[in-house]
Symmetry: D2
Subunit: 347 residues, 4 copies
């Protein structure tokens, strides 16, 4: 049994980790920490876990976590950075669901997150955690900076194209129009996330700059070795879970002569969680809700040279807690879908 | 492995059976029938099942089902009545998620369902399928008329009170104010169930008479041996899944002197799926969504003699497909929670 | 033109007052105050008002309001109590949308609101603002403590019965099962009101005691001169606007011999905003959304002695800002529907 | 008073026309027709109109409409085509909210709507009804083919750019990623529009080809005299009303040297319904809900050469019934906002 700790269990990614790990046949939850809630049973905060998860919150100290094999950080940026070194040095593997170990460039980190990076050396050792892209590195990694939710949806949409040796598209002019459910904003009280504000409404946000933009551009470069340029627009959808990314790319001569559908099907043929849908299909977010699946569909409207790639994930699962468990499974040589076989909840 | 068939798999209870049975460790899906969709893979209709459920719809004939150990009917009323006898006679156990075998009185059936009952004899052998009430009968039953969604929520709310030897409440004057998500109306195209109609609105319906009223009154009498009288008002909530029943009873002298909280806790102490919440709590439907749990809370406002019982279930799980699987588990001597351990999806 | 001021314009009742008053042909908005937002145009906070409401927030001082004919308080309890005397003494009429002047008994006020009442004398002069019940008093009142949202829905549902000289029902045992949209919780950041918490869920709250309980019981006594006893259960509906009250009363011999439908139709025949629906109908909250209408339907299930009264309002309009404008119209001898003719927004 | 008739009043655009016209100070509703509902009061179908709209449905014949000054068609395609000639010949002005008179090219019409155009001559006289673009033509028109909902949002987003004498953008490569509430699908019973399907989900549809694509391309050419090429992707948002279009254009050298914000502000300076928001803003659909307003915001992420234009409308108002009334006002020389002053309903 893998002994697991969670730092920061009072948000949605923390409670989602609990939901998944509680039924994971090879994981044993040893500790969940929260400075503000020490001693409180987690099921008091998350009644959905009543009768099945009996652990209480403990102090966010090394002492609470020192017997773990792996520790997940489900915390705002800055926390994992401050506490990971001690764990890693003690031989405990760390998977950060936050942003501290995603951007490799500390100047970029400081620009987008408004704080200097205090652990540049540790950052150097960290592996970027998009499992389908970095499986082998993750298996050996001591520290994983898990991919963000939007970046997961967009990178998996582009990966078969981008990883091609010669470019198939104009990589300097990609549009990723992304839509997320409100749970992406987390479980913190904020007027903009109130039901009365978000319900029966739709909006774009962060149009002039969002922290996931540099992450996506870095991720694409990691895959292809080439620089790509994205216009990334996030939108808020009046639903709880789900991300849909509509990605627009311009096919070049080479791309126009390629069977893109086959390219995707072959590229993902061995991926348990990636479903390349048949020609003519379109996925909805409900078809992945509560599951770790990604569904992708490809369209070329009017036979013109713009390819439209539609990809869907559950932002709390494949975009956070599920991918974290998938990374843990890879690290501990388990089949990647162990504990992640839940079918989507639909309707 | 229990060999399972489903008749009528194109509605929400059918697809929910698929979701649950696909991961059931002791069940094997042999056939799913639908007159209109013969040959179509179920995953084409329900993309959430893609890559995991590979069966296609077959003809709704005895031939399709004859190798099954148990057959679920997820059909409108009238269908199970017409097809069950042949199966039961062949030694195949039948669990009807519809209404054909709920009401024992054929006159009542005809009054509320607008058609005569064609199988009164079979009806006589049928067991009313509220597992917590009729576990032992279900184990032996050849035919189960599964409890309806509202009746499950209301009967479990009242059972500890009603099953007391001497009445604790005025059993002639119970109010059950019930609220259901829209999936209760099924997957059929109807103007009233459109998103634009049901969303951002709330209404009562069937106030002057709803088919679940006689079922609840019959169920309570089955439990207590005494006649009870209910005012039952269903309401439509702009959400997909979930039922919340607010049940009002007037405590009599005996009831006022009873520790009702303890009564409930003891009554349900050994029930895996029933959670009597601590004093002062109130459940929300999201805390059971996607799971087979029931949560119940008890309040006596202002110390007056009216007791308010709040109970929640997922109408498609404990109110339909989950309870059906629970009944199957009981029939085949499996632990009742086999294949039903999913934690609620929240948020 | 009536010169109008609003104290506390940053919540939903404040912005709803703006929406209604902006198009009121006889009202002129002179000042809207907010301590925290002095100088900010209201349209910056409420973009729906852009290009049509050009006023900015001012200091919440007497100076800001001294030229008004009437001042609305759309503030948490305690504020109107502290600031009304000065206005009333200056001859400015005050309509408090909050709770400070609703409960006549200061002991009850302190019990339910957790603070002593600092203006018992002013409270003595205040008129309880349910317009259909207290029209004549409101016309002369200097200070109105506007009825709460739930109390409006429940009292209008019961008024024709309760105002009958001889009781028609058991007035000691009324059940009011009420359901409200989330805007009732206001525009303050709170985890329980987040979209991810409230959406796709339904719950009861305040079951053991809610501040609107004593207000409803007092209001019914004001109408009938007799004490009534209510079991009042509020619930939270995943929608923004709307209240539906399902009220259960037991008809006595006299009530059973009365034509209740006619009683209601006659009672409300001259009320512009009250719609007694035809026999057999049931209203939904969407049919009053954005409007000041109340719709009421009456049912007697199974011909038994329990009468079910279903009433709907928009909690922000008839339950708050609309009723406030209606009261203002009455005070200033305008037709009550002046500026309140908007038809419901449906779908 | 303008005498008004409506053909096909049982859908959402029909009922929205009723909501707006009922309070229009210069319009008088003479007839509303519906083959299936002759004799039924419209308020029985749309309870939101109870007590305020007293007309009943009549036969969809010329006789019913012959006394009107203007007739609105709120019908599926094919109907207005069949019935308009008789009205136009009788001197009655016709505004078609459907698609029959939008596409000027009958081959294109047949390709996208699957039926030949039976009135090519009438089509030749029809004016394309985007009021901000074709005001002067509409004033004189006998027949208006009102702009569709998506085309309104996209064309108004692009108009200031496109109407520039020398191109400011690459007009051959525009992306319009559009999102609509479910009311856009109309009031017809269809599984895909059910609450349980559309709620808590998000999807793209019609990606490989949607009828509004040729309409947008034609509309842009009407404005600029130049051909433009759009990749148009509609998406379904789990809300009732609202369209948000995120339009991506590539600025050319000339565009990069233009102050785009000023260009838009000046272009729309005299338009009552168009709100060019200040730099840095982003509109949400709720800020126009129930109103005829359009809000537009402009962003150039990272200072790169892609301009992102976000525009919002209420699909049933500015995208249908409101624009129809605006066109009527123009035709009859009324101020364009007559009867259209309602402020958005928010929250």
């Amino acid at each position: 049994m893998i002994k697991v700790g969670i730092v920061g269990g009072t948000g949605y990614t923390g409670s989602e980790l609990l939901r998944l790990l509680a039924l994971h046949p090879q994981a044993e939850l040893k500790a969940i920490t929260s400075r503000g809630e020490v001693g409180q049973p987690v099921a008091d905060m998350f009644p959905a876990l009543r009768k099945r998860v009996n652990i209480a919150f403990s102090e966010p100290t090394f002492e609470s976590l020192k017997d773990c094999d792996v520790v997940f950080f489900a915390t705002p940026h800055g926390v994992a950075m401050a506490q990971s070194a001690e764990l890693v040095n003690a031989g405990i593997r760390v998977i950060d669901l936050g942003a501290d170990f995603r951007l490799k460039n500390t100047t970029e980190f400081e620009k987008w997150y408004g704080m200097p990076h205090s652990e540049p050396e540790l950052l150097g050792q960290a592996c970027y955690g998009l499992v389908e892209s970095a499986r082998e590195e993750i298996k050996k990694a001591k520290l994983v900076g898990l991919a963000g939710c939007y970046p997961t949806a967009v990178q998996l949409a582009l990966k078969p194209l981008i990883s091609h040796a010669t470019p198939l598209i104009d990589e300097s002019s990609i549009v990723a129009d992304c839509k997320s459910g409100v749970s992406g904003a987390g479980r913190k009280a904020a007027v903009g996330s109130l039901f009365s504000e978000a319900s029966e409404s739709f909006k774009a946000y962060g149009v002039s700059g969002h922290r996931h933009l540099p992450e996506i551009e870095q991720g694409l470069e990691l895959i292809s070795g080439r620089k790509a340029q994205i216009t990334f627009t996030p939108h808020l959808v009046p639903m709880v879970r789900g991300i849909l990314a509509t990605t627009y790319v311009k096919l070049n001569e080479h791309g126009l002569n390629t069977d893109i559908q086959s390219l995707y099907e072959q590229h993902y043929a061995n991926e348990y969680f990636v479903d390349v849908m048949p020609k003519g299909s379109l996925p909805d977010t409900k078809s992945v809700r509560g599951s770790n699946f990604v569904r992708i569909a490809l369209h070329r409207p009017q036979g013109r040279d713009t390819l439209v790639i539609v990809s869907v994930i559950d932002n709390l699962v494949k975009g956070a807690a599920g991918q974290a468990v998938q990374a843990m499974n890879a690290m501990f040589d388990l089949p990647e879908h162990t504990g992640l076989e839940q079918l989507p909840l639909s309707p």
